[in-house]
């Protein structure tokens, strides 16, 4: 698997870190216990096309949003995920 970073070009997988499914959205403060449980623990765990976050730590250090097929490892799109890191960290 190689990833074409929009900033650095095609790079080998070892430069990147997987940061998880892009679908779950951190619940707002004051969310119910069920919503938090859902966000922290439950996963769709899709077999097929899914969108996920990756981090290009060995390159430009950008967060990327990647559409990938979990059955074939085929990558169909790579986009900058502007602001996602800050949002995930709750900043």
């Amino acid at each position: 698997m190689r990833i074409v970073c929009p900033f650095c070009g095609e790079r080998e997988l070892g430069e990147f870190t997987y940061l998880g499914d892009a679908k779950p959205v951190r619940p707002a403060a004051g969310a119910s216990q069920d919503e938090v449980f859902d966000y922290v623990y439950l996963r769709d765990n899709v077999a097929g096309g899914t969108s996920e976050y990756w981090y290009h730590g060995g390159g430009c250090r950008a967060w990327l949003k990647i559409t990938r097929n979990t059955l074939t490892h085929e990558i169909s799109s790579v986009d900058p995920a502007a602001g996602v890191g800050a949002a995930k960290a709750g900043a």
């Binding site: 997987y18 899914t50 996920e52 059955l71």
Partner: protein, 417 residues
């Protein structure tokens, strides 16, 4: 057929041409008391214990490919019971005791080899952690020995003891740990279960659940037609989320690929199973002489049953750090398996919120050693409708209750367990 020294001698005299097949490849009946989805080690062990221990013999095991084509046939065959947390300690020891009598129970040579498992430590902190784990094991009646440097040197003189970054300081040894022949475990359970009347149905993929007006599961839709069931037990390893989704369930599980590697055969070198505590690398030597080893998962969700090169490089580096001389040994084979990575790294054995549907999942990359124990406690749950006492902490709602069994201490990060 029953195996004995006489059957062996008889077959030898006729040039080994008279061996019969060891289990029946059955066709589906209309209905069973219990249907097990998944013909891996866990599914087959469950069926055998249902029949042998709980007297429930109208049982079918449905396997989408051939039995053992999943992780049961893809793992690095390590068995051990060196766990430190309540829940795990008792369960894995129950499993170890079942390994120790498996060949007699099944009348099948599963090549259980208690050659010892040693976890090496490389720092004072790691020694203390292993001492604590060893003590926990001994308090629970499980064997454990903390070895110092001199003892490790004597046992494995070929290690790179002068490694400045990861000096070997000693190890935690469980002598009763070791390996078993994984394919034989599958065939052994199939052999014994089939003899008690269990139907083993291959090339039969479950594609949906049949539910009654109250939502209770009353059967399964399969590629070989609809099959009725009093109860349905899932033991589909890396496919748990996909099968559970057919019943509308979302699980605290992600699917990840783990790779395994085998080198060309060399003379006997490694006495038992050895793990490198400074990285993640584990190795044993097969009876044919190949080094069988592995390390971390690839770290991203996958259903592809194949891995990628960076992990291969990382695993080989781990091996080289311990044993630089294996750098000249050629790698023969590599493959991947898809595992359920649960959110705390521990298994789930429970009824599901769907009536009639039972779950055996989340074994991560350590479920081979659990095979007999998993079958035993899952059969108990299916037969009695209550958890076996050694599996009472493996409930599905433990994540909601905050009662995780997080042996590695990394929280809800399935790709780090």
């Amino acid at each position: 057929m029953k195996y004995s020294i006489f059957s062996l001698a008889r077959a030898a005299l006729s040039g080994h041409k008279t061996w019969q097949r060891t289990w029946r490849d059955a066709s589906p009946k209309d209905r069973y008391d219990v249907v097990i989805v998944g013909g891996g080690g866990h599914g087959l062990a469950t069926a055998w214990f249902l029949a042998s221990e709980y007297g429930i013999r109208n049982v079918a095991v449905l396997e989408k490919g051939w039995i053992g084509s999943g992780n049961a046939g893809r793992n690095t065959t390590i068995i051990r019971s060196n766990y430190g947390l309540p829940g795990n300690t008792g369960f894995y020891e129950l499993s170890m005791k079942l390994w120790e009598r498996m060949e007699q129970d099944l009348n099948y040579n599963t090549m259980v080899s208690q050659r010892g498992v040693i976890n090496l430590y490389h720092s004072d902190a790691q020694r203390d952690a292993y001492a604590r784990r060893g003590n926990t094991m001994r308090i629970n009646g499980i064997d454990a020995e903390l070895l110092d440097l001199a003892a490790v040197r004597k046992m494995m003189p070929f290690l790179n003891f002068d490694n400045a970054r990861f000096p070997v300081q000693g190890g935690l040894l469980q002598r009763r740990g070791g390996t078993a022949r994984h394919d034989a475990v599958v065939w052994g359970y199939a052999h014994a279960a089939s003899a008690l009347g269990v139907d083993i149905i291959q090339n039969c993929e479950v594609s949906g659940f049949v539910r009654d007006a109250n939502g209770k599961v009353t059967g399964v839709e399969t590629s070989r037609g609809t099959i009725g069931a009093g109860k349905v037990g899932m033991a589909v390893a890396g496919s748990s989320s996909r099968v559970a989704a057919m019943a509308g369930l979302r699980l605290p599980i992600e699917s990840h690929v783990l790779q395994a590697f085998v080198s060309e055969a060399i003379k006997p070198l490694i006495p038992g199973v050895m793990t490198f505590g400074a990285g993640h690398f584990y190795v044993s030597q097969s009876d044919k002489g190949g080094l069988v080893f592995g390390g971390d998962i690839d770290g991203y969700n996958s259903y592809a049953q194949r891995g990628n090169l960076p992990v291969m490089e990382d695993v080989c580096e781990g091996g080289m750090a311990l044993m630089p001389m294996i750098g000249r040994v050629r790698l023969l084979r590599q493959w991947g398996g898809i595992m359920d990575m649960s959110m705390d790294g521990s298994p789930i054995i429970d009824k599901t919120p769907v009536d009639g549907l039972y779950l055996n999942a989340g074994w991560c990359y350590g479920g081979f050693k659990a095979t007999p124990g998993s079958g035993f406690v899952f059969a108990h749950l299916l037969a009695r409708d209550e958890p076996h006492k050694e599996a009472a902490r493996f409930r599905l709602d433990r994540f909601r209750r905050g009662a995780m069994i997080d042996e590695k201490g990394v929280g809800a990060q399935p790709n780090l367990h």
